[in-house]
């Protein structure tokens, strides 16, 4: 099937003799969802693409660059997949704005409409609306191979005459037909014709007219509407029955998700460990090379620590998007959304929310980024607000530490409480969603109406592009904020530098004198001196002072100033609580929460008044606080970015912190009332 230049179309006129413009030609890619539009974009632009937001929206815009055979530069805008321009959806609004050259948008010079050859009649409805805009248009008729397998044949020339614009059959996945498409685009670039006359396509102003026109085009160029997609697909029927079955569907969903998260954790662990090790070596190298002082501390601990704290998320984020993209490409995700919709809709969440909520068990940041799958803004906001309730991997060391302290000799009970923490987080997320949908985000989740795309072998190439894009975007947008936060929190914990107390100096002196006679005792004394020095430094830092200042607020929850410092510093990231407690109580920031010796030392740690620091009531209260509290500034940065407003991030922080405070208080009082210490 060869490309069909439209003889009657002004687009097919021979190149004008005028000198080519230096401005890049701006081309918009338009099409229904699942037509292979993004696959074509990746074929055309490769890595020469960047992701940004359409101005004034949170809708992704991918803009790429390429060159035509004539040497003319082209800027390609990959518009979001839409069914119709006229729909009242954010994606349709963006497309209307771009094609109309409204507001911030520069009107494209031409449009490439990507149509699914297996579903031409419906795709023509959108094309009709696009043609009515009067922009020079080239039709890329994609998936012709799949259509051929279903016994469909196309007369591209006839179709081109009907549409009044060139039609190029392509197979975007294999890259076939893209050369011919570029050739047609070169003709468009050279054409001097202005917008097409709308009179060529009569009756497009009404719904019925559009339908008549689309049916007529199919009838005349393809031999009847029933020719398209009439073939029964028994495999699709069977797979749909299995994937959406009330019991089998849930089982298959559980298996797929378990596989996804196992792969995510197993594969991400290696690069994450490598990143941590690399930055550790880099930090050591900087400390060795640079002269001691504030600048060295800033570079080695603040800046490198901040970069490490950002980059370490990257493997999980890239892998998550790679796996989700592969799953989405297979066509399974649309079916899975219906399975989860039965449960989640009772809490005002859409079926689409299951991927973000599950992802949040790894980390809330990729979870919140994954909410882009949710089409309705209210549904998406609700999911973003409750996603951090899911117990992320950063909470894990805190749970291990506190359950270890609480149930030292009862591992079974400890295990049950550990699992209970996950359940409590999940319940808090669902109930909070319900509260949100009955108050400030009033309304039910949008009932599911979804196209179930054809099952396909996923494209690793497309998934890799998605993962690369999302990783870069995370680094550029959220990463910079996260790094800044890490540097600030490091500074608050490290400054002002407090000299070691006289007792520590005395211990050091004693250790020095005993070094030769009793090395073991000298080592012990040095350890004690280091602990004293670290505690003094932490207490004297701005974070420590803040801890003492804020401690009365946490007094009702049973926390002294040390626990308060731990809670405050854990706002950088929850796991920081463990290292802060380690610095304050053990004298090292490399604490293993499963080390019995260390646990014993923490268990025996005391407050200034001599009572146990980790009393039963205070530990239980802390556990509940950590399950429910929004102690992750990087997540707040991502919430702000994804919602486009600081008010949602502030609400998330305020709501979750208040809930955590109230339930931690209730827990503390309850344990005391039940006779706990």
């Amino acid at each position: 099937m060869s490309p069909a230049p439209a003889a009657t179309s002004p687009l097919a006129e021979p190149p004008a003799a005028t000198a080519p413009s230096r401005d890049p030609l701006r081309i918009a890619l338009v099409g229904n969802p699942n037509t292979g539009k993004t696959t074509l974009f990746n074929r055309l632009c490769g890595l020469r693409a960047k992701t940004a937001n359409f101005p004034g929206t949170t809708t992704d815009a991918r803009i790429g660059r390429m060159s035509l055979p004539t040497g003319r530069d082209v800027e390609v805008v990959d518009l979001p997949g839409i069914y119709r321009l006229t729909l009242d959806l954010p994606e349709s609004r963006v497309c209307r704005g771009v094609l109309g050259g409204e507001g911030f948008y520069r009107r494209p010079d031409a449009v490439v409409a990507v149509l699914d050859a297996t579903n031409l009649a419906r795709n023509l409805h959108l094309l009709g609306e696009v043609l009515a805009k009067g922009l020079p248009t080239v039709v890329a008729l994609n998936m012709v191979d799949l259509a051929r397998r279903r016994g469909l044949t196309f007369d591209a020339e006839k179709l081109s005459r009907e549409l009044g614009c060139p039609v190029v059959p392509i197979m975007a996945r294999k890259g076939e037909g893209t050369e011919q498409l570029l050739g047609q685009l070169a003709q468009v670039a050279a054409a001097t014709a202005g917008p097409r006359p709308l009179t060529a396509l009569p009756g497009l102003g009404t719904e019925a007219g559009l339908e008549r026109w689309a049916d007529g085009v199919v009838e005349r160029s393809l031999g009847g509407t029933h020719a398209v997609g009439a073939g029964a697909d028994t495999l699709t029927e069977r797979l749909d029955q299995a994937f959406t079955h009330p019991i089998l569907g849930v089982l298959l969903f559980t298996l797929v998700m378990a596989g996804l998260f196992w792969t995510l954790f197993a594969l991400a662990k290696v690069p994450m460990d490598l990143i941590e090790a690399t930055f550790s070596v880099l930090g050591g190298w900087v400390a060795a090379v640079m002269p001691a002082g504030a600048l060295r501390d800033l570079v080695a601990n603040g800046i490198l620590g901040g970069i490490a704290g950002t980059v370490v998320f990257l493997p999980q984020i890239c892998l998550l998007f790679l796996l989700i993209s592969l799953l989405e490409d297979t066509g399974y995700l649309a079916r899975a959304a219906f399975v989860m919709d039965r449960i989640l809709c009772r809490f005002g969440l859409p079926g689409h929310a299951f991927v973000p909520l599950l992802s949040s068990h790894a980390c809330a940041i990729p979870g919140i980024l994954a909410t882009r799958l949710i089409p309705d803004r209210q549904d998406r906001l609700t999911t973003i607000l409750v996603a951090p309730f899911m117990s992320c991997s950063a909470r894990l060391p805190v749970y291990v530490l506190l359950t270890g302290l609480l149930f030292e000799d009862r591992p079974l009970l400890g295990g049950l409480v550990f699992a209970g923490c996950y359940l409590l987080g999940g319940a808090a997320a669902l109930l909070s969603a319900l509260v949100a949908r009955r108050s400030f985000l009033a309304g039910r989740s949008r009932p599911m109406v979804l196209e179930l795309p054809s099952y396909k072998v996923p494209s690793l190439r497309t998934a890799a592009f998605v993962a690369w894009d999302q990783g870069l975007e995370f680094l550029k947008k959220a990463g910079t904020t996260i790094m800044a936060i890490c540097v600030v929190m490091w500074w608050l914990s490290a400054y002002p530098v407090t000299p070691p107390p006289p007792q520590a100096l005395a211990l050091e002196q004693r250790a020095a004198t005993l070094a030769a006679a009793d090395p073991a005792e000298a080592e012990r004394l040095r350890g004690e001196a280091a602990l004293l020095a670290a505690r003094t430094a932490q207490a004297g830092s701005y974070a420590g002072r803040l801890g003492r200042l804020v401690q009365p607020v946490f007094e009702p929850l049973g926390y002294d100033w040390q626990l308060t410092v731990g809670v405050l510093t854990s706002f950088v990231a929850r796991e920081v609580f463990v290292s802060t407690m380690s610095v304050l109580l053990v004298g090292s920031d490399d604490l293993d929460p499963e080390d019995r010796g260390v646990l014993d030392r923490l268990h025996g740690a005391t407050r200034d008044d001599g009572t146990l620091l980790f009393s039963t009531a205070a530990s239980a209260s802390l556990l509940v606080f950590f399950v429910l509290a929004m102690q992750c500034l990087p997540t707040l940065a991502v919430t702000r970015r994804e919602t486009g407003s600081v008010k949602w991030a502030a609400l998330q922080l305020g709501y979750m912190s208040a809930l955590a405070y109230v339930f931690a208080f209730i827990t503390y009082r309850l344990v005391l009332a039940l006779g706990g210490s």
Partner: protein
């Protein structure tokens, strides 16, 4: 045709038992046409034509964009939540709450 009458009888009985009003046939419609039913009253494999939607405008518009508008013929591929309809070459999944608000006229043709 016999099968159709039986089916309608069963459906009407179910409607009466549920104390739900049977949709009133418009006066202008030819009396030989079957009454509109809720989509949820159809079985898998049935073919029908969409008669009326009782949905919010944005939901109706989305269905129309997917190819399911008043008068469209479709086949029920799966009955029950989710409902799966095949409209020409498009397979559309619908939550139960949406399917309940679609009135359809069964189509006798295979």
């Amino acid at each position: 045709m016999v099968a159709f009458r039986c089916y309608n009888l069963r459906v009407n009985l179910r409607l009466s038992l549920n104390n739900e009003p049977t949709p009133v046939r418009p006066l202008a419609q030819a009396p030989t046409f079957p009454d509109p039913l809720r989509l949820t009253q159809l079985a898998a494999g049935s073919r029908a034509r969409l008669s009326e939607t009782r949905l919010a405008a944005h939901e109706r518009d989305l269905l129309t964009a997917l190819g399911l508008s008043a008068g469209s013929c479709f086949r029920v591929c799966r009955a029950g939540d989710p409902w799966i309809l095949e409209v020409r070459a498009t397979r559309i999944g619908l939550a139960d709450v949406v399917a309940e608000r679609l009135l359809v006229v069964p189509d006798g043709e295979p």
